[in-house]
């Protein structure tokens, strides 16, 4: 990990304003001791909506010496207090500030970067607002609720020259890196099929529900701000189950199993296949909402992308979020256990890799290094947008239950008005993207 190599604020200003080559000042020139980080080189970070998953991200983030975490924003009082407690304990003070309004947090000029781990519905709007305030962003996945949001996200980060890392941490997992390397180095021969495990139907059916839960009395705004929790989503009556994490599998808040895991596995497939700048042109759904399902996709050059529910551990029991790459000369498959299976001819090319569970730390490191270098991280906004558009297109095909043809250049479905309308979800006022 390169630390303290450049005065961050001076560098950001130069790079963003002039789009010039980075001015690297080696740390020894600055007279720093090995491992020490000058206060001016610290990345000042804050968090918005840190819950269960966000806690993993937060702990990974604050494990880096160059990060100083200073503030938390959440619509839930108890969550604000929990995060403040963790941070204050780490730094041995009471300095972590708490906010319930993201604009107050984002207005702070001393904050460089923001970790966003809210529910999916907030990911794109908050990321864009953060970019407009000049912040770099690490945002949990899925990064968008629609095809329209995916475009808006990528456009905003390009426009403002901010660094965005999607929470697609498996791109920095040793097992997935080696699988991708086998593709890139031609060991598999010409790639013909990539397989992305989709979220199992028993956990996340491909078609989320349009139901509402029974109305419960709204808690005081200081405890849970329900209006702000809903944010850009259509209004519905309060029920505590949503707020306690039960929002998944409701259409207004969630993209079903395809987005839940596809945002990882489809993303990995497009990365390995060098399709980070496009989407498949054909989507054929198969199955229903109460059993294994699939969407069979095809890129313009004939490469097949199979989005398939193969169960929690995948076909070969390699763990969650499995992917498989198949070429003319062999195949490779891996998942969250970190184990890699492959055709016999590829075994000589396997080697020990870092543990899969370290992917998050490496992914966070990738983001922090890119904040300093102003290079694009592995799961940039543009890369995430492209793989998420694929997932949304597959989701729309599944909703409509028919084959769809997609034009990546025009970003529209061919001759299907109903499908094209599903590219959008109108945001509740005052939110927009």
């Amino acid at each position: 990990m390169q630390q303290g190599s450049v005065s961050r604020r001076g560098f950001v200003k130069t790079a963003s304003a002039l789009a010039a080559a980075p001015m690297i000042v080696p740390s020894h020139v600055l007279g720093q001791r090995a491992g020490a980080v000058a206060p001016s080189d610290k990345i000042v970070a804050a968090g918005i909506g840190i819950g269960n998953r966000g806690n993993h991200d937060l702990r990974a983030l604050i494990s880096f010496g160059q990060v100083r975490f200073v503030a938390i924003c959440d619509v839930r009082n108890e969550r604000r207090e929990e995060v403040k407690s963790v941070i204050d304990q780490k730094y041995g003070n009471r300095d972590c500030a708490m906010y319930d309004d993201q604009y107050e947090l984002l207005a702070r000029q001393d904050i460089d970067a923001v970790l966003i781990a809210t529910g999916d519905r907030w990911h794109t709007p908050l990321s864009i607002i953060a970019a407009q305030h000049g912040k770099d962003v690490y945002c949990e996945k899925p990064c968008s609720m629609s095809i329209e949001e995916s475009w808006a996200l990528a456009d905003a980060f390009r426009r403002y020259g901010r660094i965005y890392q999607a929470g697609c941490q498996r791109r920095n997992g040793g097992n997935n890196c080696l699988a991708t390397e086998l593709v890139e180095t031609g060991r598999l021969g010409k790639l013909h099929t990539v397989v992305a495990n989709a979220g199992p139907w028993v956990n996340w059916p491909p078609l989320p529900s349009h139901n509402w839960l029974a109305a419960e009395p709204e808690p005081p705004k200081a405890v849970v701000d329900w209006e702000r929790w809903l944010g850009p989503c259509p209004w519905r009556p309060y029920n505590s189950a949503y707020v306690r994490g039960g929002w998944r599998n409701f259409y207004d808040f969630h993209g079903g199993g395809i987005l839940e895991w596809g945002s990882h596995t489809v993303d990995l497939c497009q990365w390995a296949a060098k399709k980070d700048d496009t989407q498949p042109v054909e989507y054929v759904p198969e199955g229903g909402n109460t059993g294994p399902y699939a969407v069979h996709c095809k890129f313009a050059d004939g490469l097949k992308l199979e989005i398939v529910d193969e169960g929690w551990d995948g076909r070969l029991k390699l763990g969650a979020c499995t992917i498989r790459y198949e070429g003319e000369n062999g195949w490779v498959e891996t998942g969250d256990t970190g184990k890699i299976e492959c055709s016999d001819n590829l075994r000589p090319f396997l080697r020990p890799v870092t543990e899969a569970k370290l992917a998050l730390a490496y992914h966070m490191q990738d983001w922090l290094e890119c904040i300093k270098s102003r290079k694009q991280p592995r799961a940039s906004a543009a890369n995430a947008a492209n793989s998420h558009i694929t997932c949304h297109a597959a989701f729309i095909a599944f909703q409509l239950g028919r084959k769809l043809t997609w034009n990546p250049a025009k970003q529209e479905f061919v001759n299907d008005d109903e499908a094209n309308r599903l590219r959008f979800r109108a945001h509740r006022e005052p939110w927009r993207v």
């Binding site: 839960l213 969650a320 008005d417 599903l422 109108a426």
Partner: protein, 223 residues
């Protein structure tokens, strides 16, 4: 790894179950909206379904909801992606009928639709007293883009203060991108140039400088 908890939508009470509603055709959905006895839930789901299947015939019933504080967003949900021009007409007609948050929502929908006919009323709202409405108008004008929108935004840039100035600057960035996409390069660069003043919020100023550099490099002669 443990499997996640089982989802809970199945526990919805009968009055909040949507499966039947989400299969109805446009005529049946419009009938729900017109029926005074329909529940809030039924109307909400009708609007969401009409977003993908509603035609011109659905527009009046959806438009009637725009002034209803509880249902206005659902009305927009149905209208916003409707390609029929009457949907844009209905949203524009609602502008003088709503205020505050509902007006912000209608403006946002016009921006999302890139409704060029909305430029004139949005220009007036940009100069209004309600800052949140003016911010929404700035964003919508940016999304719609074009020379008239650019003129309105550039004019507002010199007058706006505080958060509104930031919103106008963000609208200018969007608008300039639209102009570049349409080949109106000099007009786009003029708009970017207006954003390089030191009193423009830093994120927008840096974005404009970056865009100017990119636009200039794109025309550089090969060496």
């Amino acid at each position: 790894m443990q499997a996640a908890k089982r989802p809970s939508p199945d526990t919805a009470p009968p009055e909040f179950q949507a499966a039947r509603l989400m299969k109805l055709d446009s005529a049946a959905l419009v009938a729900i909206l017109k029926n005074p006895g329909s529940t809030e839930f039924e109307k909400a789901k009708a609007c969401q379904r009409l977003a993908s299947v509603g035609g011109k015939d659905a527009v009046p019933a959806l438009a009637a909801l725009l002034t209803d504080p509880k249902m206005s967003h659902y009305g927009r949900y149905g209208l916003e992606p409707n390609p029929d021009p009457s949907a844009g007409d209905a949203l524009r007609a609602a502008l003088p009928k709503v205020k505050g948050g509902l007006l912000v929502g209608v403006i946002n929908s016009l921006g999302a639709r890139k409704d060029e006919q909305a430029v004139a009323p949005l220009t007036k709202l940009l100069a209004g007293a309600d800052t949140e409405v003016a911010k929404a108008a700035a964003a919508a004008l940016g999304q719609i883009s074009g020379l008239s929108a650019a003129k309105a935004l550039q004019g507002a840039l010199g007058k706006a203060q505080g958060p509104l100035r930031a919103a106008v600057a963000d609208g200018c960035l969007l608008c300039a991108e639209g102009l570049l996409a349409k080949g109106q390069r000099s007009e786009a660069l003029a708009l970017y140039d207006a954003l390089t003043r030191p009193d423009i919020p830093k994120p927008a100023r840096l974005a404009a400088m970056q865009a100017i550099t990119a636009a200039e490099i794109s025309l550089s002669r090969p060496r």
